[in-house]
């Protein structure tokens, strides 16, 4: 898979520090399951955490702390994880294009997503998550369709899973991620023959420009 659009370094660092909202964490995790470059980058960001842990001043433990832990270990059956497999197994379902972190939420196939039509040519599937003030959803947009031009009330992260679209930032195909902050305005146009399917996290409802777009917004809900 050749990936041209990657995660912003600030997003990688926030992911590594555990500071991304669950909706965005799913998109980041899905991209890094597909992208070697960003996976290595997350490793580096996590190494910052490791260095910080090494340099951490020691806090006093409670009395008998290790003894208590040791008793817990002895009392429970040893549920040790077996040594990791040496053989490489594919990161994704070989038949599907659903990255593993997403498959636990929508299943293993993009063909089984329970789409709901929002406007002609645009389908949406909302993914319910706890503990988030953001939205996570999937979009399926027909060939040649435009998304309304919109600014962002907050950050927006889009991962392409199938098909492609183009906007002022370039062409986005499978594996590419658009990691955009609130100041960006863009108008993606699907340029693949097949519909474009993507996973989207948004911080706040995306604002569409123009009256028709505004009328459409409650329908699309993005």
């Amino acid at each position: 898979m050749s990936i041209h659009h990657h995660l912003d370094a600030a997003s990688l660092m926030r992911y590594a520090a555990g500071d991304l909202d669950p909706a965005f964490a799913v998109v980041v995790a899905s991209h890094i399951a597909m992208c070697d470059e960003c996976r290595q980058a997350v490793r580096l960001a996590e190494a910052v955490g490791g260095a910080c842990l090494s340099d951490m001043p020691e806090a006093a433990l409670s009395d008998g702390s290790f003894t208590r832990l040791s008793r817990m270990i002895d009392a429970a059956p040893d549920t040790a994880t077996k040594r990791r497999p040496v053989e490489a197994t594919p990161a994704n379902d070989p038949d599907g294009d659903v990255p593993l972190p997403l498959s636990s939420l929508i299943g293993g196939s993009l063909d089984d997503v329970p789409w709901r039509l929002v406007v002609p040519g645009v389908y949406r599937h909302k993914i319910e998550l706890a503990d988030t003030s953001s939205s996570l959803f999937m979009l399926k947009i027909g060939s040649g369709r435009k998304m309304p031009e919109h600014g962002h009330g907050g950050t927006e992260m889009t991962l392409i899973l199938r098909g492609s679209y183009s906007d002022s930032m370039g062409r986005f195909g499978p594996g590419d991620v658009a990691d955009l902050d609130e100041h960006v305005e863009h108008q993606p146009v699907v340029d693949s023959d097949d519909p474009c399917i993507c996973l989207v996290a948004t911080e706040e409802p995306t604002r569409f420009k123009g009256i028709v777009s505004r009328l459409m917004q409650p329908l699309v809900g993005i």
Partner: protein, 186 residues
Amino acid sequence: PGPNTDQARHEALITAVADNRDKSAFESLFVRFGPRIKGMMLGSGAGEDLAEDLMQEVMLTVWRKAALYAPERGSVSTWIFTIARNARIDRLRRQPVQPFVDVETVSIASDAPSAESEMIAGQHGEIVRAALQKLPQEQRDVIDLAFNQFMPQSEIAKKLNLPIGTVKSRTRLAYKKLKENLEDLR
């Protein structure tokens, strides 16, 4: 890394725990990391009891999952940091931190040693710490709050009295600088 580095010692301890269920090796890891994990939890605003409890949970995971530690992915302290991060998020949320766990599974399955992963493996404690030292103070401050105290970006902005965009760009610059420093140090 030579046999005398922290990383080499920690790796040997983890291996003893994974292969031999060696309690005294585990105790050495506990002595080294337990107080530091608890320090991080306290720094992130957990009370004494919760910090102690989370620390015990993290070390229990280290005991149980020692066999999953993969040196080509990073140092032992980095691995333990990610366990601590996940334990903390798990405690705050109603839904477990599935995305992180899933990605760890992916990485375990698909990582073949490469020049790139050798480089990551080389990023053990000392080198990353040295690279961090060389960051400009204003970038270092943002990193410290995010990683030492698990402070959300929005709170960092408030605490440092900066627009959130500035916190974001300092984080971005810190990452870039860190990467450059690491390449210089190699």
